[in-house]
Symmetry: C2
Subunit: 119 residues, 2 copies
């Protein structure tokens, strides 16, 4: 059973990912959470997060700063502060920043997709 | 199956709750989500969210503005921007703003607790 805790976002280091940098605040590997995964991703406009999907796992992209888009089968939807994107389980989506870094809170549940991949 | 969508936070009205105001952005009743519930709560310092728990359901309190605390069995943990609270399933917790309104993103999963209550 994970413990109640309050995390300081700035004390958790970003990790490099192909599409920018990312940090997990709450997740099985971070604090033992069982249902929720939440962290921050900084999308690099030079390296979009190419189309992918996670079957069985929902995602929310809650934009904090910067601008970009989420694209599914060629249809782009704008992302900027004040906008919250919901990605259903299994839906292909590409996420990209435009003009500079875009920073967003990323939430996922379940913590693993239906193939057992935890990301 | 819920559809992919991008929601404009400001277009969704706040609802009055005992501890302030709240709006759901993603949830079964909002967009048909199956695992994730996410929204914004503005905590009124005059009316704390009194001790409660949701068995089987995890919660994250991601503070956007203002200050307050989350209290469990008399132990207070500070809340302010830059801090993210994780509440394990079933753990009693009270949440309160101090000195003015505190606004936070509230994330929960599963979307219902183990007694079937969706909140």
């Amino acid at each position: 059973m994970p413990e109640k805790n309050v995390f300081k976002i700035d004390e958790i280091p970003f990790q490099e990912v192909e599409w920018g940098t990312s940090k997990v605040i709450v997740g099985p590997d971070a604090n033992g959470s069982e249902h929720l995964r939440a962290g921050i991703t900084e999308y690099d406009p030079e390296t979009p997060h190419e189309p992918h999907s996670h079957p069985g796992q929902e995602e929310i992209i809650w934009v904090l700063s910067g601008e970009g888009y989420t694209e599914t089968h060629g249809v782009k939807m704008e992302l900027r502060p004040g906008l919250v994107a919901y990605i259903p389980s299994g839906m292909e989506h590409k996420t990209a920043a435009v003009g500079g870094k875009m920073t967003a809170i990323i939430m996922k549940s379940p913590v693993k997709d239906s193939s057992g991949v935890a990301s």
